[in-house]
């Protein structure tokens, strides 16, 4: 069943996402949620995905506090009230 989740949009993507810093979508998985986001804001698709399929390697996606690469990647299931963050990879140390 589809659930309501929040997607946090980083500054670098806001101009393609109606200048919003977060968007609510209905989804059952991360893939679902990102698809829903891209349906609403089609310009995001090319930013988030390489060849329309794989996540761009400089885009990190988190479900709550966990990087989805430690979960089931795009197939990670989501639950009502979850928060998805899209975060550019950043330097540091």
């Amino acid at each position: 069943m589809s659930q309501d989740v929040h997607v946090l949009i980083p500054n670098a993507l806001r101009s393609q996402a109606g200048n919003l810093s977060s968007v609510s979508v209905q989804a059952t998985s991360i893939r679902d949620a990102l698809d829903a986001l891209c349906t609403q804001f089609p310009e995001l698709k090319a930013r988030l995905f390489k060849d329309g399929q794989q996540l761009n390697r400089f885009v990190n996606v988190y479900l709550n506090d966990e990087d989805i690469r430690f979960l089931k990647h795009l197939d990670t299931e989501i639950h009502g009230g979850d928060e998805i963050s899209i975060v550019p990879a950043i330097a540091g140390g």
Binding site: A12, R47, S85, P88, A89, A91, G92, G93
Partner: protein, 427 residues
């Protein structure tokens, strides 16, 4: 006037003006400062550089600042030590230590990147600066910002060594401990950078910050008498310094200041956090992130932002990746200290331990010059050395007791340097 042309995306080549910027709008790729090298020809020379100050600012023409340096006037230009005793121990002909454990003012390579980032922050007119850090970057930002009179916010993982906390707190920043590892800290930091009008050195000042790391490479070349070492072993955390040492070498070659001897760059990581080295070993272009578990906390970054470029540089230059276990790291710290009188932290122990493994496995031939990049200072992390030594003898202040103590050392079969003490010639 500077030689800076623009910011350019390392992925798609898109160009941007010189403003605070985290990533490329098109693909989230990192943006890098591009220069007008043609205009530098004949103007940026060995002589012009040698006439500069004894700091990293002698390479100002190759750094992205417009006016005079404002921060870190004494940073950089650390010693390049010809490590003959260590070389003999390892059975190599020519070994150098680039010793950033002595960097000013906070004893790590980070004083380079921060000098450039905060000078740029002031050029942009920021009054508040910050960073996400595994410890050393926070020290450096806090210290340089104190001197420059900037407000400071630093974020670090909760479990850092005490020395790494005190070393920042003393400069008066707002230091926030984050429940999680560095990658958690980074994610929050990126969201904070989106919200507050601050110069976060590793986020919106990243393109300028990372350029500062080139000076580590420039200095190696100049201090070797304008030559490149055939092999350079560099630690990898977020993946800033390794590709920038490479960029430094390429720029000097481009300007005709050094000969292209086909320098190889080797990557060093702790076995408990080696996503990049693992990808290199497996011939993968893309690394898998890891949850770090190592005593080398300053380089415990499981999701290195520039990891992809580290893999690329190491592979293209014909270098190798290697990782070191915690015991190997500690042994290397001890070896460097006993042979060269340099006390490094676990990041440096990792780099040396990996260099040793690359030499032993033949990937660094014993007759080719090697430079090992020591990027941090051991006095910040003394707790990792707990249990590394037998307890020191405690005696009353009497010569008799001292002589007895020496005799007992011999009885107990003291090894190494202490063995000959009791039989030293009496003056």
């Amino acid at each position: 006037m500077s030689y800076v042309a623009c910011l350019r995306c390392k992925e798609c080549g898109a160009e941007y003006p010189i403003t605070p910027r985290t990533v490329c709008d098109h693909d989230f790729g990192p943006v890098e400062v591009a220069y007008d090298y043609a205009a530098m020809q004949g103007k940026v020379t060995r002589t012009s550089i040698e006439a500069g100050p004894r700091s990293l600012w002698r390479y100002k023409d190759l750094l992205p600042i417009e006016g005079e340096p404002k921060v870190g006037l004494h940073s950089g230009y650390t010693p390049l030590v010809k490590a003959d005793r260590l070389a003999r121990e390892l059975g190599v002909r020519e070994l150098y230590i680039k010793d950033d454990s002595t960097n000013y003012p906070t004893f790590s390579y980070k004083d380079r990147v921060v000098s450039v980032a905060l000078t740029k922050a002031m050029e942009f007119g920021f009054d508040t600066v910050g960073c996400a850090s595994t410890g050393n970057l926070a020290h450096s930002v806090a210290a340089h910002a104190a001197k420059a009179g900037l407000r400071t916010v630093v974020l670090v993982p909760e479990d850092l060594e005490e020395g790494k906390i005190v070393g920042s707190r003393v400069f008066g920043p707002l230091l926030v401990k984050i429940k999680g590892n560095y990658d958690d800290v980074n994610r929050l930091c990126s969201q904070i950078a989106d919200k507050y009008p601050w110069a976060i050195v590793n986020v919106n000042l990243r393109p300028f910050y990372t350029e500062g790391a080139k000076t580590h490479g420039f200095e190696i070349a100049e201090q070797m008498g304008w030559q490149l070492p055939k092999h350079t072993v560099v630690p990898v955390a977020g993946g800033t310094i390794l590709p920038k040492v490479w960029k430094a070498y390429r720029e000097l070659i481009e300007l005709g200041l050094v000969e292209d001897n086909g320098p190889r760059i080797h990557a060093a990581q702790a076995a408990g956090c080696n996503p990049v080295v693992k990808a290199i070993a497996e011939g993968e272009e893309i690394f898998q992130p890891q949850k770090p578990n190592t005593i080398a906390k300053s380089i415990a970054i499981g999701n290195p932002a520039d990891g992809y470029y580290v893999i690329k540089v190491v592979t293209e230059s014909g270098g190798a990746g290697e990782s070191a276990t915690d015991p190997e790291i500690l042994a290397a710290i001890g070896l460097l200290a006993r042979t060269e009188g340099i006390f490094t932290e676990p990041a440096g122990g990792t780099t040396l331990a990996c260099a040793i493994k690359l030499i032993q496995s033949g990937r660094i031939p014993r007759d080719e010059p090697v430079c090992v990049c020591i990027t941090g200072n051991g006095l910040k992390t003394i707790e990792v050395m707990t249990g590394q030594f037998e307890s020191s003898p405690v005696i009353a202040p009497r010569l008799g007791e001292f002589e007895q103590m020496l005799a007992k050392l011999d009885e107990n079969g003291a090894s190494g340097a202490h063995a000959r003490l009791a039989t030293s010639k009496v003056i």
